[in-house]
C-alpha cells in the first residue's frame, strides 16, 4: 500500500483554482519534499491530505483512507507540525506532551513511558517543568516534532518546520527526520531551504497549482542541467504567472 496516493486532485475557491489536477504517490518510509513558491497551492493541497479540507474533485488516499469519507481515520494515522502552530507556550513541557499524547489517543501508561523516553532522547529532562514559551526556538521545534510522532503515525506532515533556526539546530532537526523515516514513518515536508530539498528521497515542485516536476533531487538536477536544487527551483518557479 502507498502511504499517499493522489489522482487529479483539485480545489477551487470560487473561480480560483488553488490546486489544479495534481497526481502523485508517496511510498511508505519515504521522505517526500513538497516544494513550491508562496501561493503555489502547497498549503491547500496539504490541508486536503490531512483531512481538513474537502477537495472539489479528484481522488486522494492517505494511509489507505479516503479523504472524502474517512477524514477522521486519516487524522488518527498522521502527525502534523508547522512552525506557525505547534505547541502551547503557556503549558509546561510535560503538559504539552500529555495534551498531545492524549489527543492522539495514548493510554496513561503509554503516556508516562513516552514522556520519559522523549525527554531522554531530546536531552530535556531538566526542562520537564519549564514553560514551552521560555525554550529556545530550536528546542521547541525538536519537541514539537517529537510530539507530532508520539503516537507512531504512518505519516507525518511538516509545514516549513525549520524556519528561522540556527544552522546547527536545523541539521539536528533533519537528523530526527531521518531517524523517523528509518523507523518507517513517511515524511511529507515543505521547506524554503533548498539544501533541505537535497535530503529528500524525492521532491515535487508546484507552480500555479500544478506539479511541474517530480523526481529525486539528483534526477532533477540532471534534467535541468544544474548542480543544485536552488537553480532547479528558480528555473521552474520563475515561470509562475499567477499572483500570490
Amino acid at each position: 500500500m502507498k502511504a499517499i496516493e493522489v489522482k487529479q486532485l483539485t480545489k477551487r475557491f470560487g473561480t480560483f483554482t488553488a490546486v489544479d489536477h495534481i497526481s502523485f504517490e508517496v511510498e511508505p518510509g519515504e521522505i517526500f519534499g513538497f516544494l513550491g513558491a508562496n501561493g503555489a497551492g502547497k498549503t491547500t493541497a496539504m490541508r486536503m491530505l490531512c483531512g481538513l479540507s474537502i477537495p472539489t474533485s479528484g481522488e486522494a488516499r492517505v494511509a489507505g483512507f479516503d479523504v472524502y469519507r474517512e477524514s477522521e481515520s486519516i487524522k488518527r494515522n498522521i502527525g502534523y507540525m508547522s512552525q506557525k502552530f505547534s505547541l502551547y507556550g503557556d503549558l509546561k513541557v510535560w503538559e504539552n506532551i500529555r495534551l498531545f499524547g492524549g489527543i492522539y489517543g495514548l493510554s496513561k501508561q503509554q503516556l508516562s513511558r513516552k514522556t520519559d523516553e522523549l525527554l531522554d532522547i531530546l536531552g530535556l529532562e531538566k526542562e520537564r517543568n519549564t514553560l514551552v514559551d521560555s525554550l529556545p526556538l530550536g528546542w521547541k521545534q525538536k519537541l514539537s516534532f517529537s510530539v507530532a510522532i508520539i503516537h507512531e503515525p504512518k505519516i507525518v506532515f511538516l509545514d516549513e518546520p525549520t524556519g528561522g533556526v540556527d544552522p546547527v539546530t536545523r541539521r539536528q532537526f533533519w537528523e530526527l527526520i531521518y531517524e523517523a523515516a528509518a523507523r518507517g514513518i513517511t515524511v511529507f515536508v515543505t521547506t524554503h531551504y533548498m539544501d533541505e530539498a537535497e535530503y529528500c528521497n524525492r521532491v515535487s515542485i508546484m507552480v500555479d497549482g500544478k506539479i511541474e516536476a517530480l523526481d529525486s533531487p539528483s534526477a532533477l538536477k540532471r534534467d535541468f542541467k544544474t548542480t543544485n536544487m536552488n537553480q532547479v527551483f528558480h528555473a521552474l518557479a520563475r515561470k509562475a504567472t499567477r499572483g500570490e
Partner: protein
C-alpha cells in the same frame, strides 16, 4: 536632496539589554557607514529585533549608547523617527485598511503624499497596485512584505531598518526582494537588514554574524569566508545518511555536517597521511563510491565554526 553627502551613519557603542535574567544584547558595538547595505545574520533569539527596537527609539538600552544619522537614540528620538523607515518582523500594518489606505496613512503621518514620493516606491508598489482596494489582512505573505516595505519607504527615509523581511518567503521571491534592496541602496539609503538565511549574506556590503546577543564576526562576506582557518572537504556517496555517522566516528574528524547534496568535513590535522587514513577507513566501512574534494567555505560554514 544631497542625500549622498548626508551623514546617514549608524553608531552602536557597547549596548547591553536584559529582559529579566536573559541578556538579549551583550556589550554590542557596531559602526555602519552612510549608504551601506549591512546584514545582521543570525538565528532566532540572537538579539536582532532588540537591536532594531533600540535603534528605532522604541526601546531603551540598559547601558551603552547609539546614534542614527548623527542623532542620539534617546535624546533625539523625534528627529530620528522622521529620518528612518522601519519594517518590523511581525506584519504591523492595519489589517482592516486597504493596501492604498495603509500607504496613504503612513504618507500622511509623515506629512507627505503618495504622489510626492511615488518614484521611490514605484518599483515595489506597482507590483501590488492592482490589489490596492484589497484589505491588507487579505494579502498573501509576499504581498504583505511588499506593502510593508512601501509603507516604510513612503516618507523617503535616510536609513531603513528591515527586521527579517524574507523569513518564510520562497527562494525566488527572496532573491527579487534583494534586487529591490540593491536599487534602494543606489539611492544612497543606508540599510540595516537582518536575516536567518545565510545565503543572503553575500548580497550585503558587510555583515555581522550574531548569536546570543553578541557579534561573533564583522566583515565583508568575502572577508569572513577568507578568515575560515580550516581546510574544508565536500564528501559524497550513495548512502549519505550512513556516511554522516561514519564520518563523525572517524577519529580525526573535527566536524561534519550535512550541506545539501554533500557533507562538509573538517579534520583535526591536515596532510596526506590523514587523508590516506580517512580513505582506508571509509573503504573498511564498505564505501566504494566516496568522492572527497577540497572546497571553499560558505558563510554558513563560517557561522557554524564560530
Amino acid at each position: 536632496m544631497g542625500r549622498l553627502n548626508m551623514n546617514n551613519e549608524i553608531h552602536i557603542n557597547h549596548i547591553t539589554k536584559r529582559y529579566g535574567d536573559v541578556e538579549a544584547l551583550r556589550d554590542l558595538s557596531l559602526e555602519i557607514g552612510s549608504g551601506e547595505l549591512f546584514g545582521l545574520i543570525g538565528p532566532d533569539g540572537a538579539g536582532k529585533t532588540t537591536l532594531f527596537r533600540i535603534l528605532t527609539t522604541l526601546l531603551l538600552a540598559d547601558s551603552g549608547s547609539a546614534s542614527v544619522c548623527g542623532l542620539d537614540v534617546v535624546k533625539d528620538l523625534k528627529e530620528i523617527r522622521r529620518r528612518v523607515g522601519y519594517m518590523p518582523g511581525r506584519f504591523s500594518l492595519y489589517q482592516d485598511l486597504t493596501v492604498e489606505e495603509n500607504l496613504n496613512f503612513f504618507a500622511t503621518v509623515f506629512n507627505t503624499t503618495i504622489e510626492e514620493n511615488y518614484d521611490l516606491v514605484r518599483d515595489i508598489y506597482s507590483q501590488i497596485e492592482p490589489f490596492k482596494h484589497r484589505r491588507a489582512g487579505k494579502l498573501s505573505g509576499g504581498m504583505k512584505q511588499k506593502l510593508a516595505l512601501s509603507c516604510a519607504l513612503i516618507h523617503r527615509p535616510d536609513v531603513l531598518f528591515l527586521d527579517e523581511p524574507t523569513t518564510g518567503v520562497d527562494p525566488v521571491s527572496r532573491s527579487e526582494f534583494w534586487d529591490m534592496l540593491d536599487r534602494l541602496k543606489r539611492q544612497g539609503i543606508t540599510i540595516l537588514v537582518s536575516t536567518p538565511y545565510m545565503d543572503e549574506a553575500s548580497r550585503c556590503d558587510r555583515i555581522a554574524l550574531v548569536r546570543s546577543g553578541e557579534c561573533l564576526s564583522i566583515d565583508t562576506p568575502v572577508g569572513i569566508r577568507a578568515s575560515y582557518d580550516r581546510r574544508l572537504y565536500a564528501v559524497r556517496s550513495i548512502s549519505m545518511y550512513k556516511l554522516l555517522g561514519d564520518l563523525r566516528e572517524f577519529p580525526d574528524t573535527n566536524s561534519c555536517f550535512a550541506f545539501g547534496d554533500a557533507h562538509h568535513l573538517t579534520l583535526r590535522k591536515d596532510g596526506e597521511d590523514v587523508m590516506r587514513r580517512l580513505r582506508d577507513y571509509l573503504k573498511g566501512k564498505g564505501y566504494e563510491d566516496v568522492s572527497l574534494e577540497p572546497i571553499e567555505p560558505s558563510i554558513e560554514d563560517c557561522f557554524m565554526a564560530l
